[in-house]
Amino acid sequence: MIFHRLKHISWDLALGVYVTLLVLAIAVPFFNLVVPEGSAFHLSTYMVTLLGKYMCYALLALALDLVWGYCGILSLGHGAFFALGGYAMGMYLMRMIGPRGVYGDPVLPDFMVFLNWKELPWYWLGFDIFPFAMLMVVLVPGILAFAFGYLAFRSRVTGVYFSIITQALTFALLLAFFRNDMGFGGNNGLTDFKDILGFDIQSDATRSGLFIVTIAALAAGFAICRAIVGSKLGKVLLAVRDAESRTRFLGYRTDRYKLFVWVVSACLAGVAGALYVPQVGIINPSEFAPANSIEAVVWVAVGGRGTLAGAILGGVLVNIFKTWFTGALPEFWLFALGALFVLVTLLLPRGIIGTALHYREKHLEKKASEDNAFDEIAPEQPHDEAQEELERAGA
């Protein structure tokens, strides 16, 4: 019977996430757009954007938790997929500037005019078409992840070695995107965006719209991850995490399973980056910085690895803390982050949600054993129903 209850915990938690996101999606635009500016309850547009940014980070954390928490793949390079999604969106936004740039060129972005380029490089073609750009947001990180993962998993690179090469990947991209001749605006990146889908990117309404879309993307990402984790494939992932070679001897091609979640995760990270860029108004190579990817790992660890909801919570909480901390002591942020990581690892190894779930389970187990006398005289459940319940208990 206890498993019946456990199933409910996981549902309660998911429901909590969906309800919270729904409330945010309604309340944030409401307090910004409807409540007048003079009112004490008015939410500034700055806050809307800041919250939107947190939601993007939460989606990145979710993507990371899918591979790290459920498949044991510790990526120290997820920032790369985030940034690539961001660049794809940035390229669309650059093309939307049109002739309104400083140099007034109808097609070429300012930085290309400045570099004396005469025509658009081939890889910029099509980015003025929104659906194409959105496809690239998912495809570019997805294809890179596929190529990278295919090679790494097939040659059975695991553990620390894998983590290190993901760091190398994001660092290599950092260096590449710094170069002016790459055609992505070099050091300055892409910025000075004007509008998105015809809406003024600076307007309050657009900001709220972007916030709502980000929440929707986060909710969809959460639903996708839950579906994966709750399926039989999700059970295989845990098996790979805990005993990969045993899983192989059962006949599973573990490299393909890893490749699958790895690519899904990279695509989610790309979407997070794409939503981030119009809200912060810029994308530059610093998004590839190895430290960013490591930060994302800390978010997941703080919230609770392998819980999905915990990743979202960690992504938001740590960034609230970061906003506050960098306001007060900007130079010390990396130390604070390190300290946070050490503290969580030592004191709260399951993370916030993980610890809460653990105690709830313990509590229910205790209660169940106290209820045992009752369970024994209670009529037995019809077989099928009981079995189905057992099935789902893992979900």
């Binding site: 805990d242 045993r246 001897f249 393909r256």
Partner: protein, 250 residues
């Protein structure tokens, strides 16, 4: 030879495996017939586990050939492919999926599509549930079906792993020291279980426990320093002087 090869289920010929010059297997040859159960004994380090590693694709031999069912060259396949051919393996140290329930351990092992998208959209059918229930009964874990595998006793883990082996529905089972750490009663039950399994499948079992091997009452092969020292009935090899010297008489 060809005839013999095509009839035997497992055919190891002249297998050599060396680790940094040390020969863990030294020109080992072994034939297992369909439906046969074979016990393998030998002192520590004789190469018993390494032999299983070769058969299941974990280790590539430096020399020699390993054929399954007369036509599959095992030395050219990876672990997953070999498992799907119908060779199941139980490890010396019981390895089950600790963070899964007993039920889920069996579900994962159950013969079914092993493809990524097959498992993503799979749901457990009524016949699969029935199969799992039957397996639970066979390995005496019905009451523990919802327990986390991590919380099982050592003996229960051994059984769960045997259950997982059966769930794969293999033609050939390789069982490495199944009764290590079991009580006498559990050991006897395990012998009974293996004999039952052997009614429909071939089994190769590695074991140190001589009472257990006697219980199985099958042909015994003695390995020593990576090759076969002797084989025959337990009584026959017990009287072999070389065997007494290197193993039994320790």
């Amino acid at each position: 030879m060809t005839l013999e090869l095509s009839r035997s289920l497992l055919y190891l010929d002249d297998i050599t495996v060396s680790f940094d010059g040390f020969k863990a297997l030294n020109a080992l040859s072994l034939l297992i017939e369909p439906g046969e159960m074979r016990a393998i004994i030998g002192p520590n380090g004789a190469g018993k586990t390494t032999m299983m590693d070769v058969i299941t694709g974990k280790t590539r031999p430096d020399e020699g050939s390993a054929m399954f069912a007369g036509r599959h060259d095992l030395t050219s396949m990876d672990e997953a492919r070999i498992a799907n051919l119908g060779i199941g393996r139980k490890f010396q140290k019981p390895t089950v999926f600790e963070s899964h329930t007993v039920w889920d351990n069996l579900l994962l092992a159950l013969k079914d599509s092993r493809g990524v998208f097959g498992t993503l959209f799979s749901s457990t059918s009524a016949s699969q549930k029935e199969a799992i229930e039957e397996l639970l009964e066979t390995v005496h874990l019905t009451d523990a079906s919802m327990a986390m595998a991590a919380n099982l006793s050592h003996g229960q883990k051994q059984w769960l792993e045997i259950g997982m082996l059966l769930a794969q529905d293999p033609q050939l089972l390789l069982v490495d020291e199944p009764v290590a750490g079991m009580t006498d009663a559990e050991t006897a039950q395990t012998a009974q279980l293996l004999r039952k399994i052997n009614e429909t499948r071939s089994v190769v079992v590695v074991e140190h426990d001589m009472t257990f091997v006697r219980d199985l009452d099958v042909k015994v092969t003695v390995l020593h320093e990576g090759s076969v020292l002797a084989d025959g009935s337990l009584d026959h090899i017990s009287s072999n002087e070389r065997v007494i010297e290197v193993y039994l008489g320790r």
